[in-house]
């Protein structure tokens, strides 16, 4: 196996583990598939893995986690317009696995251009280089330049000009060269 294949295999194994598949066969010539789910908790999962699972896919948990319901209830119960103004965003992106997502390293307000009315630093379709300024995040009256950490094409912007962003929130998606 070459390293490329090794990587694919790794991903496949990760995927099967995540989905609690116990056995999996596949043939190509005229396709044969065989899937057998694991018996439940073959080994006690470690904390980090668990946290990841909880964070990424609560609905796939073997037992219904209290979390999503609590959240739903809180929203349902609260005062007239309880929609979290700021939260919610961070998990939404990352759908296309090939894209690199630039995330906000700080809490603050997102600005697309160096000053009001001037042209944005970047727009969809631009080719960007590592270190190129993509936007400004204002925090405590300080303007923080946010640099690109991958070279490639800007394919998506997740936030609006003037929008508040939290730590780790997705800002841009870059298709790496």
């Amino acid at each position: 196996m070459n390293s490329e294949e090794m990587k694919e295999l790794e991903e496949l194994i990760e995927f099967l583990k995540e989905n609690k598949i116990g056995e999996f066969d596949l043939e190509r010539g005229d396709l044969k598939v065989r899937i057998k789910f694991a018996q439940e908790n073959p080994v006690a999962p470690d904390l980090a893995a668990l946290a990841k699972i909880i964070a990424s896919q609560p609905q796939a948990m073997p037992a219904p986690s209290v979390l999503p319901e609590v959240y739903a209830h809180s929203a349902a119960a609260a005062s007239p317009a309880p929609t979290p103004a700021v939260s919610a965003a961070p998990a939404e992106a990352d759908s296309d696995a090939n894209l690199h997502v630039v995330k906000s390293p700080i809490v603050g307000t997102f600005y697309e251009s160096p000053s009001p009315g001037s042209a944005p630093f970047v727009k969809i379709g631009d080719q960007v280089e590592i270190g190129q300024i993509l936007c400004i995040i204002e925090a405590m009256k300080l303007m923080n330049d946010i640099e690109c950490d991958a070279a490639g094409e800007i394919v998506k912007r997740f936030v609006q000009n003037g929008q508040p962003v939290e730590y780790g929130q997705s800002l841009f998606a870059v298709r790496p060269r």
Binding site: L47, L50, A51, I54, A55, A63, S65, V66, L67, V70, Y71, S74, A78, S79, P82, P84, A85, V86, S87, P90, I106, V107, G108, T109, A139, M140, L142, P164, V165, E166, Y167, G168, Q169
Partner: protein, 451 residues
């Protein structure tokens, strides 16, 4: 009243503050680290903002991140809870500069109380009893004998440069003073290159007793009773009670008058706690002041009927003390709190992980303050406190019996907790008799070993 408050904390105290805000009709903003995305303070706040990675220094202690969050959420005020940024005068200053009300005392007062020797002198000036001691360095054996005479035996000699017990001697009689003085002096000189010694009154079996105070922003200060916090392990409180069996109503009234005077002098504002040591004769000596809400504030709430966190918020909103505490403080019954930590109950090693079952006790006279739940995760990055179990009864006996049955019914699976330790303490005769001091846990562990 404030329209919106940001809670710069996590865990049970963040949820406690959220509850107080909800009851006052104030919108709440939670901040959280990446490790706390699924924490209950995030779920139950009206808004939530991720402010950084798991490490406290990068999130909950990150002043620019907290202030930025407050600004983008457009809050009127920040409640700091306890620990973290709560006694950070610089943070309070940045809040002020950012036009956000810090729910606590002004930074100047926090700073004064944070410098122990200055706080001591300020209290001394206001005639609050402080632990008697030599003023500055002892010059000679004779000097030492004189100080000891005026302080009263036993006394303790300490190295000015010292720490860790070296250069330290307990002196019980004038006869043994000279030789112990020389020994301490020599040891200090060898250990620290400086033989300077000072002297303090030595309390063999001190109790830790603290007084809760409230102060409005109009110059009014009020003491709302004391808490007994002598059950400690390595200076970490495990169990707290209110009232203290050692404090008579006369003492309570006296201390209240003294604290009113002294804290009005220093311009104290908001909630605070004044800590004292009590000697074997029941005399109290000021140690230090905590300029925030305490972990153990619920026992005071249980016996007074006050809501101290709501009081904090209303004070920060300019309310007058006379509108918050409308009737004379009356201590009703007895309350005890057990701190339930995510720790091994014997080895005290932290026990992070996923909670698989979580059944909290309820019923008459039982209060639980927690932000944990079944399927919740205790991250390894923070304080190990996961719940406070508080009982209230008509007297200490009833409060203890309630605690015993509540501890029996408190089920946490998936991680270790100190619940089994508490169960054993509540079976301990010395504890039940109330005849303890800050050395209780050492004796308790000895007894446990012997069993």
């Amino acid at each position: 009243m404030f329209r919106k408050v940001l809670i710069a904390n996590r865990g049970e105290i963040a949820l406690r503050v959220i509850c107080a805000c909800k009851e006052l009709g104030i919108r709440t903003v939670a901040v959280y680290s990446e490790a706390d995305r699924h924490a209950l303070h995030v779920r139950f706040a009206d808004e939530a903002i991720c402010i950084g990675p798991p490490r406290s220094a990068d999130s909950y202690l990150n002043v620019p991140a907290v202030i930025s969050a407050a600004e983008i959420a457009d809050v009127d005020a920040i409640h700091p809870g306890y620990g973290l940024l709560s006694e950070n005068a610089n943070f309070a200053e940045v809040c002020r500069a950012s036009n956000i009300k810090f729910i606590g005392p002004p930074p100047e007062v926090t700073r004064l109380m944070g410098e122990k020797e200055k706080a001591r002198q300020a209290m001394k000036r206001a005639r609050v009893p402080i632990l008697p001691g030599s003023e500055g360095v002892i010059q000679s054996e004779d000097d030492a004998l004189e100080w000891a005479k005026s302080i009263g035996y036993p006394v303790i000699l300490k190295a000015s440069a010292g720490g860790g017990g070296r250069g330290m001697r307990v002196v019980r009689t004038p006869e043994e003073l000279p030789s112990l003085y020389q020994a301490a002096h020599t040891e200090a000189a060898n250990a620290f290159g400086n033989g300077d010694l000072y002297m303090e009154k030595f309390i063999e079996r001190p109790r830790h007793i603290e007084f809760q105070v409230l102060a409005d922003q109009h110059g009014n200060v009020m003491s709302v009773g004391e808490r007994e916090c002598s059950i400690q392990r390595r200076h970490q409180k495990l169990i707290e009670e209110a009232p203290s069996l050692q404090v008579t109503q006369k003492m309570r009234d006296e201390i209240a008058r003294t604290l009113k005077r002294s804290l009005e002098n220093v311009g104290y504002q908001n909630a605070g706690t004044v800590e004292f040591l009590m000697d074997e004769d029941g005399k109290l000596y000021f140690i230090e002041m905590n300029t925030r809400i305490q972990v153990e504030h619920p026992v005071t709430e249980m016996v007074t009927g006050l809501d101290l966190v709501k009081a904090q918020i209303r004070i920060a909103c300019e309310a007058k003390l006379s509108d918050i505490v409308t009737q004379p403080i009356q201590i009703r019954g007895h309350s005890i709190e057990c701190r339930v930590n995510a720790e091994h109950p014997e080895k005290f090693t932290p026990s992070a992980g996923k909670i698989t079952a979580f059944n909290v006790p309820g019923g008459n006279g039982v209060r639980v303050d927690t932000a944990q739940y079944a399927e919740g995760v205790v991250p390894p990055y923070y304080d190990s406190l996961i719940a406070k179990l508080i009982t209230h009864g008509k007297d200490r006996e009833e409060a203890m019996q309630r605690m015993k049955r509540a501890l029996e019914m408190f089920v946490v699976e998936g991680i270790h907790t100190t619940v089994p330790l508490h169960r054993r303490i509540f079976d301990d005769e010395e504890f039940r008799a109330g005849q303890f001091d800050t050395k209780f846990m050492e004796r308790f562990f000895e007894r446990q070993k012997a069993m």
